[in-house]
Amino acid sequence: MTNTVKVGIASIVAIIFSAVLYLETLTMSRAAYQLPRILIVIIILLAMAMFAEEYYKSKKKKSQGTEEAVVKQPEDKYDKIHYDRIAVFVGAITVYIFSIKILGYFIVTPLFIIGIFRYLKSVKMTTALIIAVGFTGFIYMLFIRFLHLPIPITMF
């Protein structure tokens, strides 16, 4: 996906978001909607300007012979972005957040750490276990015992 397309999608999303919020202002009193409406108009203008700027830049690049559409090969293997990995990681975070509410901190946190470490093959299983248990315990001690702050221990 080229930058122009990405920015174009972002501009459309910003405009739709602004339109939804504008509709919300229809039920507000004048004093309450004054500033939001001004900001909404500015957002719509800036979103359009953002797309125009990106389009102009890509046109300029094309005319200079460095077509943006040509997908550049990464310089080395460390520059390649793994989108599948991002999707799995974001999915794991979402599952972690929703399951911590049901199963509680002590069960889900070590599982999340071990799961991610194994998926990314970042450390050996024993190291993953030690880090998972050690970090889970450390956070518990820090938040509950030392700082007296709440953590989602269990919902049972």
Partner: protein
Amino acid sequence: MEYLMLGLNNVMTFMNLAAIVVGTALGLFVGAMPGLSATMAIAILLPLTFSLPTATGISMLASLYLGAMYGGSIAAILIRTPGTPAAAATVLDGYPMAQQGRAGKALGVSLFASLVGGVISSIALLTVAPVLGSVALKFGPVQLFAVAVLGITIIGSLSQGSTIKGLLSGVLGLLLALVGMDPVTGSARFTFGMINLYSGISFTVALIGLFSIPQAIRLIEKDQKVITQVNKFKDRMLPTMKEIKQIIVTVIRGSIIGIFTGIIPGTGGDTACWFSYNEAKRFSKNKANFGKGAIEGVAAAESANNAVVGGALIPTLTLGIPGSSATAVLMGSLMVHGIMPGPTLMTEYADVTYTLIWALLLANVALFFVGLLFTRLAVNVVKIPNHVLAPIIVILCVIGSFAINNSFFEVYLMLIFGLLGYLMDKIGMPTAPMVVGLILGFMLNMSLYQSLLIGRGSWMIFLQNPISAILLLVALFSVIQSTPLFGWIKKKIVASKI
């Protein structure tokens, strides 16, 4: 003077001094980890200060910021990867020094330059802030509205990359700050019937999400480079008197550059270190040595990035406009403790504000000793793989955002902001202006309402007042100067002169 002594008295308690030492040590270790920024470190560790007294919590975070600035140089010198963006210029001479077997010297020079830069900027903060603060105290709603507009336009237009994207991010932040109960009319705005949104979007949640989750995703999106070679250092860290004489002018120059760069909202340590490095090279008699292991190169970059801390706090504490994303997070920590940023910080909350300033000054001294003690230990942190850090960051974000209100709603909101921050990053839109928008939104809303009330509904009130008119003009100029229109006007003027 009374407040100055009060602040000094406050900071000299065991609890606060311990917080300063712990903060600098934590900052040093986090800063040493490649890929983790000082801003993220403050954002992620902010929840730890919830249960601490305000002065202690804020002292710890300010010390952490300072420690992270120095910590960034450890990875830069030893593995040629800056621990923080502010240490980017340190690589140029720090790494060659390490390869020549002078890693200890490079780190010692970095520590000394950080100490001098930090102390000079803290003194500047201690002297300039009260003066500016007393001027800002005379500001009414009309001027405060102009200050808020100026803050958002400057940080938007000076953000790296596109001004339009910076401004859009800032205005989105302003709009998000309006979610919840309107303090003027008492009616709900953009809550969509959700009871949790009536109290507004928690600023802390937004900044934890915006600064930490994108960082965690970035750490795993690429294959990790295995750090096999870390330059060892066995040589002495402390610079000799001869070396101090050699670098002192560069360090003072770098400190001044750092202070002024810090004052300008939107610019931070990453800009200051390059600016200072280039100036050091320009003034040097041995320009050829730069890039090959010149201690002046390390001194210039490190004095400037630590001096930024004090400089950036000047507009933050006097006007309520954060000078950098890290100071925006520091401001957020004040808000967590019920202190509203703005000109009243220097009077109404003078005890906390002056404690913070003194804490910053003392943190520089603490950093020097913590650095001498722990730098050798921090070398091990440099080797921690990015993929190991990513889930750890996520857990700290989740637990931290839950701790704010003992509620899962904040955790969901944090994740939404995190994903938004990552997507913004992918299209080159900076997140710092959005955070500043979230801070300034309340001030903008209240001052607009009050100003229009004073002006009987007329918007001309903002142009009738000279201070607000000038501030708004500067805001307009800051936007125009970064657009193609300015370049076109400049070209026309040059052409007409020829």
